[in-house]
Each structure stands twice: as C-alpha cells, then as structure tokens.
C-alpha cells in the first residue's frame, strides 16, 4: 500500500472547516468528520501524494515515530477505502 496512489472519490462533497474536514456522501447520505490528523492526510492525498511520501510528513508534523505513523495511517486509509471516500488511483 505505501506506494499506491490514492484519490478522493467524486461521489462526496467535502469542506475543510476550522482544521476539520466535513464529508457528505452523495449516494448514501453518510457524513464523516476528519480530525486534524485525518485532514492532514486528506490534503496530501488530494495533492496526489502516496503514503510513502505522506508518512514522513506526519512524523515531522506530529512528532511521532515512523512505525506508529505507518500503522495508524494505514488503518485510517483502509477505513476511508472501505467507505469509498478514498479510491485507489489508476494514475
């Protein structure tokens, strides 16, 4: 997964508000809110970065070791993929 490029689904509407991201699904009316760390990852996925590129940035920003950052980020991404908010990019 670390080298896989992700993208944000075009079936959601989202707004970053006060450091948090409010996400509204179009097809199932679900709503999710990402905290500041989730929003940090969201912005980088939106910028086309891979997890391999994102994880060192998380370590630097939140002063966390790489193993913890990798584990937590992958768990988060898995959940976003399962909710079809993130998709695996073909690019």
């Amino acid at each position: 997964m670390p080298d896989k490029r992700l993208k944000i689904s075009d079936r959601i509407a989202a707004r970053i508000i006060g450091g948090e991201t409010v996400i509204v699904g179009l097809d199932d009316n679900t709503m999710n809110i990402l905290n500041d760390v989730g929003t940090f990852i969201w912005e980088r996925v939106d910028a086309g970065k891979t997890l391999h590129e994102i994880i060192p940035e998380i370590c630097a920003e939140y002063e966390v070791d790489e193993q913890t950052a990798k584990r937590d980020t992958e768990t988060f991404v898995e959940e976003m993929l399962s909710k079809k908010i993130f998709l695996e990019s073909d690019d």
């Binding site: 075009d10 508000i17 948090e20 991201t21 409010v22 179009l26 097809d27 809110i33």
Partner: protein, 324 residues
Amino acid sequence: MGWRNFEPFPMILQMALDSVVLNIGDLPTSFLFSQLGAPDELARHYRNFLIESPKPEAVKKSEPRPLGSGPSDPALRGPLANAHGTEFFHALSPLWHFQVSTAPEMVPPEGLTSHDVRIEFEGRELKLFRADFEANIDLATCHGTLRYTGLIPSFENFLRALYSVRLLGVEGLLVHACSIEYEGAAHLFAGTSGAGKSTIARLSGARILTDEISVVRRDGDQFYLYGTPFWGELRGGGELVRFPLRTVNFLHKDDATFAKSVGLAEGIRKLLRCTLFFSTHLEWRHQLLMIAEAICALHRCQDLHFQQGKEFLRLLDAGQAIKN
C-alpha cells in the same frame, strides 16, 4: 350573520376557484388545476400560506446567487464554480407555476420504493418523482406540470421535495426541526423522529412556527426561521411569519436541563443529518454544505438536553452560561 356559519374560510372563495398560490419561505408557487373546485381542499389545508397571485413587479426578488458564490459572508465563501449549477440558480424566478392534474392510481417510477424521492436535473429541466407524485419544470420559463394522487399527503410530499431544492438557491434549508419565536427571536430545535420536537414546542408556551419541518433561509445579512405548513403531532396551521434566527439546538431528552456548545464541524454534521435533501447532484451537495456552514458559523449551536418544563428557555438567552 348567516354566511360565516356556512363557510368557515370565506377568503378562499374570494380567490380563483381553479388555482392557488402558496408562499413558503418567501418563495411563492402557483398551482393551476385542470378541474374546477379541485384545489378547495388544498386551499383549506394551506389557508395560512395562500397569497393572491403576485404581480411580477410586486414579487420580492429572491436574490439568487450563482452556485459557488456560497454564503454572503466573504469569509465563508467556497471556491466552487460549476456551469451546470450556475444555470440552475440563475434560472430561479420569484414565482414558479405548475399545471396540476390528479391520478388516484399512480405507478411509481422503476427502482423507486414507496418513500424514496428522486430529483433529476438535466439541461434546463428539473424533475421530481415519488411513488405518489411526478413533476417537472422548465427552469427557463419556470412553468411545469405536477401529477399527484389528489390527496393532501401526496401534495405535501411534493412540496417538501420542491422546497428542498428551491430553498437551496436562496441559501435556505428544510430541516427536521421545531421552530419557536421567543422574545422576538427564532430558535431552531433539530432532531430526528422521537427526539422531542413536538414536546419542546409544547413545553415552550411560545409562538410555534412549526413542530416538524422548519424553513431557514438567508435574507440579506440575516438568517430567518419562517412559519411553515409542515407540521407533526401538534397539527397546527402555521403562520406566514418569520423571525431572525438566534440559536440552533440539537435535541436530547434527559433528566436534567443544560446546554453544551457544539463545534463548527460537528454542528454542520448534526444540522445536515436533520436536513431534508433528496438530490445526489454533487454541486447541490456542496451548496448544502456551505449553507449549513454559514448557519452554524453565524449562530450559537448547542446540544440542548431538556426535561419537562420551561427551564430550557433560559438557555436560549444570549450570555447564559453553557456547559463546555
């Protein structure tokens, strides 16, 4: 003295027999019926929201904004821009017209269950479907057709679907919420079924704008709550009035009465959870999100825990202590 005894709604007789104009949230809609007398029941049901057919120059402009301009406050504007949505919002007219027919036995569109609403927008045509109504309107002319079962619930389902879209163009929402006017300001109490909307309306002893579906919309720099004909348990008739919105409350029945302030993102999530919206159109969802953001950013949002009694009213005053 006799005629008043025989006709409880004399105003209705003074209006055209085959048409009604309803004004909900300052957005009037005209319904022209193919059968004489057909609208009498509707006119009685919506008597407090009937207006005389407005002359074009007399209708208050709704100040439609292109989709993407977002809330009026520049600080709350988003970067969206979309030609499809822009076309829709430019097409908003102060008055929409529907030619109405009834069909007691309606066949629901394929793939639609009895409670589903489908809203489609193609070119300049807006289509609205449910098992008990179908409607379309040309947004260039603002003339369209409506077919419904002839029963009030069917017509009301149509109105809710229609206004969920129309309000979007004037920075407004239809919300599952009770609204009251208390000391000159309006307060929204949002909650799903069973949350206590009718209970809090009853407890308030205040002027009730609705106990079920609220209309909130911006006019100029201010959001207002409007009286609506959409009622729940209390079955009130509603009033054609509006008051400036002061607080947004999310209801929780409890054995104590207190309020906890809600953060912006959480407030938006809670408000949207109670918002009636049926379209899956991406740009409209973005607009919905921005309207909710504006409402929550400009007003106090709080989780309101309440028990029997009027004690909760003190938590609606500005400056009252709120648990954080």
